[in-house]
Symmetry: D2
Subunit: 339 residues, 4 copies
C-alpha cells in the first residue's frame, strides 16, 4: 500500500500515522520529496482499509497494491478450482457445463417437461426459481418451498442435479437436497446471507450485482470462502448501463479479467444479461469462445405463459438449436484454442 501525504505535513503527523500503523503488521518506508512525502507499506495489508488511512486529514491519497482478496486470489492459488457437483459433474478447470431450465418453477408437469427437454439437448444441470426476487410485491413471488419440492421431483425423474436461488438464510434447511445454491444479483452484497453460505458445504453460484465491480464481486466470494466453503462459482449476468436495446450489458471482458485474477470457475448467463431471446444464441457461443466454464440459460416450454421473464426464455426447440452450436464451439475451443 502506498500512502501519499499532503505538501507541508508535519513530522508529528507522520509519527501519529506510523503509530496507528504499528497496530497492523506492516513496515513502513518513507520517501521525502520536495513537495510530497510517500509512505510505502510493506506486509500483509489486507486488514488495512484505504478509507481509514484517508481519514488522517494530511493524507492526500492511498493506493492499494495488493489485492484485498486472498482465498479467491489466483496469486496464492494458481490452480483452477474444480467444483464437484456430484454424479461426476464438475465445473471449472476444463470442465464445462450447461445449466438450463425455466425462470420459475410453475408446476410438476412444467418442470419435468422442461427438464427432460433440456437434458435431451445436452444440458447437465437443471435450474428453476422457487423463491423469486421480483421488483413488484404484486408480481408472482415463486412457489417457494413447494417449488423446491417440484425441482426435487424433476431431479428424481431425470437424474439432473438442481440449481436454485436462496433469498433468506432462514430458508437454508429447505435446500438440503439442492445441489448448487444460487445467490442472485440483488443479494451479491447481502453479507449476512454470504456468511451463512460460507459455513455450509454446498457449492454456491454467485451472480454479479447489477452495478458491482469485479473486485467487489470477488470480495463477496471471499465472504463465502472466508467461512470455509471454497466451492464458489462466479456468474456474469450483465451490468446496468444506459443502453436500452438490451436489459443489461453482458461484460465478457469480465471472463478475461477473472481468469487473470482468480482460480474460481466463471459461467455466463446470457438470458438475464440480454433479456431478449434472439440475442441469447450469439452471446452463448461468444461466451464459450471467451473461455467461460459454463452457461446458464432460461428455457420454458411455453414462454408466453411463463410467470416471469418470458421474453428471454428459449423454447425447447430453440434451446436445442442453440445447444448444437454451443457443443460445436466447446469442442472446437477444447481442441484448437488455448489461452
Amino acid at each position: 500500500m502506498v500512502v501519499i501525504l499532503k505538501d507541508g505535513t508535519d513530522r508529528s503527523d507522520v509519527m501519529e500515522l506510523m503509530e496507528y500503523l504499528d497496530a497492523f503488521n506492516v513496515s513502513v518506508s518513507v520517501t521525502e520529496g520536495e513537495h510530497t512525502t510517500i509512505l510505502g507499506l510493506i506486509g500483509d495489508t489486507v486488514s488495512l482499509s484505504e478509507d481509514d488511512i484517508r481519514a488522517f486529514d494530511f493524507v492526500e491519497d492511498v493506493k492499494r497494491i495488493q489485492e484485498p482478496y486472498k482465498a479467491a486470489n489466483k496469486k496464492f492459488h494458481p490452480n483452477p478450482t474444480v467444483v464437484e457437483v456430484g454424479d461426476g459433474i464438475k465445473i471449472g478447470g476444463g470442465n464445462f457445463q450447461v445449466i438450463a431450465g425455466p425462470c420459475s418453477v410453475e408446476s410438476k408437469e412444467q418442470i419435468i417437461e422442461v427438464a427432460k427437454a433440456v437434458k435431451a439437448s445436452g444440458a447437465t444441470l437443471l435450474r428453476g426459481g422457487a423463491f423469486k426476487p421480483r421488483t413488484s410485491p404484486y408480481a408472482f413471488q415463486g412457489l417457494r418451498a413447494e417449488g423446491i419440492e417440484l425441482l426435487l421431483e424433476a431431479k428424481k425423474e431425470t437424474g439432473m442435479p438442481i440449481v436454485t436461488e436462496i433469498m433468506n438464510a432462514a430458508h437454508l434447511p429447505l435446500f438440503e437436497h439442492v445441489d448448487i445454491i444460487q445467490v442472485g444479483a440483488r443479494n451479491m452484497q447481502n453479507f449476512e446471507l454470504l456468511k451463512v453460505l460460507g459455513k455450509q458445504e454446498k457449492p454456491v453460484l454467485l451472480k454479479r450485482g447489477l452495478a458491482n465491480t469485479i473486485e467487489e464481486w470477488l470480495m463477496s466470494a471471499e465472504y463465502i470462502m472466508a467461512g470455509g466453503n471454497k466451492n464458489v462459482i462466479l456468474c456474469e449476468r450483465g451490468i446496468r448501463t444506459f443502453e436500452t436495446a438490451t436489459r443489461n450489458t453482458l461484460d465478457l471482458s469480465a471472463i478475461a479479467a477473472l481468469k487473470e485474477k482468480t482460480h474460481l470457475p466463471v459461467i455466463v448467463d446470457p438470458s438475464h444479461a440480454t433479456g431478449v431471446v434472439q440475442y441469447v444464441e450469439r452471446l452463448s457461443v461468444a461466451a464459450v469462445a471467451a473461455g467461460a466454464d459454463g452457461l446458464i440459460i432460461e428455457v420454458h416450454n411455453n414462454p408466453k405463459k411463463a410467470l416471469c421473464d418470458g421474453p428471454q426464455s428459449l423454447t425447447p426447440a430453440q434451446f436445442d438449436t442453440t445447444m448444437e452450436k454451443i457443443k460445436k464451439m466447446h469442442k472446437f475451443m477444447s481442441e484448437e484454442i488455448s489461452y
Copy 2:
C-alpha cells in the same frame, strides 16, 4: 397499458392475447393501423407485468401508463405522510429533522460523546451502525448486538431517538427499542427483509440502492407498505456513476421527482453520497434548498480513529458550523420559498 403488435400479426394471435388478458381485470380496445395494431388496456394493470406480455412473440412493445406502485403513489394519497418517531419528533409534511452520529458505534464513551455533541448542535435523532455492511470480510463488521446496547445507553443519556441499520430479518428482536430501522443501499432489493419490515410497526428508513431507479426504489417502499407498515422514509444517498471525484453522485433531482410521485418523506445523506468531508456542507445546504425533509450526516469525535468511513465524517466542531447553515437555510426556506 398500451400493447403494440408487430406488423402482420394474425387475428388468432390477437385472440390468444385477449384470452390471456381476460384473467386480469382489464378491458381492451383495439386500434388497427395499416402496419400496426395497438391495444389499449384499461383497468387495474398493477398486477400485469410488461415482461409477461412481451413474451408473446408477436408483441412489438408494451408501455405502462399507470405507475406500478399504489400505496406509495401520490395520485391516490395526495397528502404528505408524516412519520411520527415519538417524543413529538416527526418527519415529513413540513417537519424537518437532522439525524447525526458516527458510521459505527465503537464504544460507550464514543457514542455518548458524539450523541451529546450532535444534540448540542441541533440534531434531533442519533444514528450509529451496529451491524455494518462491509465490502471485505476482513473489515470491522460492527459491534452487532452490543452496538445496539450502546446506542440504547446513548438514547437513555440524551433522550435522542435512535436510527440503526438491520441486515438480517432474524435480528429483528434486537431492534425492539430502536426508533427507526434503516435498510441500507445494498439491501434495498432484499425483498425477504422488506416483507418482514412491512409486518412490524416501526418506521423504516429506506436507502436508495447504488444503481437503482426511482421507480425501483418506490417499488421497494411498496413492499414494506403492502405488508401494512405505512411509515417509510426514503433516503437518497448517491448513485454509482463513472465520476471519481466523489464516492457516488448525489441525485438531488430525485427530491423533485419524488415530491411529484409520492407522499413519503425524503431525506438526504450527503456523507455517503460524496465520501468527502469538505463537500458535505454545501450539499447539506443544497438538499434543504431542494426541499428535503431531513438530513442524515456522519459525525465522529475522532475521524482518524473511526473504524469505518473516516474520510466522510465531520468532527463535532465541523458539524456545529454546518448545522448553523442548515438551520438558517431551513428557516429561510420555511418562511420564504414554497414549491
Copy 3:
C-alpha cells in the same frame, strides 16, 4: 407512434394536437378509455420528435414504434451492406478483415516495420493515428499531416489500404489517398463533421461514443448516409461503466442487436475497449464468435516507447499468436456456425 394523454384532457386540447400533427404526413386514430385517451399515429413518423409532442402539457407520454433511422434500417434494406475498400478488400456480408497498426504514427521506420509485421501475420488493412484526440493538451497530439504522409509511404511499401482518424472537417483534403476515414468515439456526435463525411465517397469507420446507445449510434450513421454516403462501418469500442478492471466495457451484445437492426457491417476494437494487453486475445476471438465482420487491433513494435496507449498495444509477436487464433476461429465460424 403512440401518444398517451393525461386523464381529463379536454376535447379542445386534443383538437389542438391533431391540428399540429396535420402538418406532418400522419393519420391519427383515437382510443378513449375511462381515464386515458390513446392516439395512434400511423404514417411516416421519422420527422416527428417525441419531445415536441411531449411539450403539449396534456400529453402523458409518447412512445415511438418505428425506428427513427431509415437508411441504416435493416427493415428497409434487408441485404447486408458490403463496403468495398479497393484491391478486392471488402467488409461485411460475409467478408471479414483485420485492421492492425499502432495507436500513433511516430516515424517512417516505425510505421513501415509495424505494417510489414501485421501484414505477415494476416492483417489486411493498416491503422495508425495521425491526428490524435488526447485528453490533455500537453500530451502528444500526433504527427498530423506528416503522419498521413508516413501512412501513405507504408501503404506504398506494403500495398495495404490505410485507416486513419479525422478530427476536423477542414482536414479532409489531407485524406485524399486514405482508404477508410475513421470517426473517433469523442466525435460520434460531432454532427457537422458527420455531414461533411456524408457528402464524400470514402468509407467511414464510425466508432461508438463512450456513453452512447445503439440507437444514437445508428442515428449518427444516418447523418452520414442521409448525405449520400452509404459506406459506413460501425465499430464497437467499449462503453464507459463503473468497472475499473478494464478501461471500458466491451459490449458484444451490440453485435447481436446491430445484426437485427441494421445492414451495416460491425467491427470490434478490443484494444481500446479493454485497455489491457492480456485481455485483447480472448475478446478478439469472442468477437469473431459473436459474428463481428472484422477487428481493429493495436500493434506497436515497441509498446514501451509508444507515444500513446502503450498498455493496450500488442507486440508483433503477440499479434501473430493472436491472429492464429482469430484465423482459426473465423474459419470455424464460416464453416460450422450460422446465426
Copy 4:
C-alpha cells in the same frame, strides 16, 4: 507521480525506466520493499502520461499525485476567475448571472419576445440556439447563420449580451458579435474546436460532456486556456445514468468539487439536466444554494410550438415565478451563508 513495480522486477528494467524518465524533467527516488519496488517521481509531471509508463510491462501501477491541469488549477491560481462579458456583466468571484432564452432561435418575433420577457424577470444574458446539435439528421437543425442574425437583433433591442453554441470552428467568423461562445456537451472533447477557441478572446461557456468526469472536463478547459484564452465558464448540465425519471442526472456535487479544484466560475443548466419543466425550479434554487455562479434556463414563449426541447422549457410566466425564488435565494446566500 508514484510508480509501483511488479514483484521480481530486474534491476536492468528499473534502469531502462529511469533512462526513459530522464527525458522528462523529473527526479526519481526508489523504495525497495520485500515484494515491491516503489518509485517516487518528483518534479513537473504534467507532461508525463500514466499510460506511457504503464506500457513498461514490469510496471504494476501508476498513480498521479499532481493534477494533470495547471492553468485551471486553483492551487496555482487561488483567486477566482471573474469573466467580464461587457456592459459591466461579470460571472464568477461573487458575480452571479442568470442566462435565459429558448432552446432554438425560431423567428425574429419569438426571440425578441422571449428576450424582453426574461429581461423583465431579471435575466441578464440571452441564450438561443442558432446551430443545433440534434440526434437525428431529420430534425430541425437550427436557423444557423440566420439564427445568429436574429439573436443580434434581440441584443440590439434589449441590450442583453448573447450566448450561443458553436459546432464547427469554420463558423467562428459568424460569432464576431456574440458575447459568450458555448461549447455543447457533445463537443466537450472536440479538441480541434477547443484549440481554435483558445486562440480567440471571447469567453467560452464549456458544458460538461454526457459521461465525462470532472477531471476530463477541466482538461478540456485546459485546452482552451493553454491557447491563451483564460475566460472559461464551466457549465454542469447533468450526466448520463440509468435513471429514467430525468433526462440526465444533475450532479450538484460537481460544484463542491470544482470550487475546491479550480478558480473558474461554474454555472448550472437545470433545463437540460432534468428535461422536465416541473423540476427546473427546485434544482435552480438548489444550485444557487450549492454555490453556483449562475444559471442557464430554457424559456420559450410557446413551449408547445418549440422546434426543440419543448418539455423542458418554462413559459415566461413560469420563469418569472422561478426567478423570484432564485433572486431571493441568491440574496439570502450572499448575506447569510459563506462556504
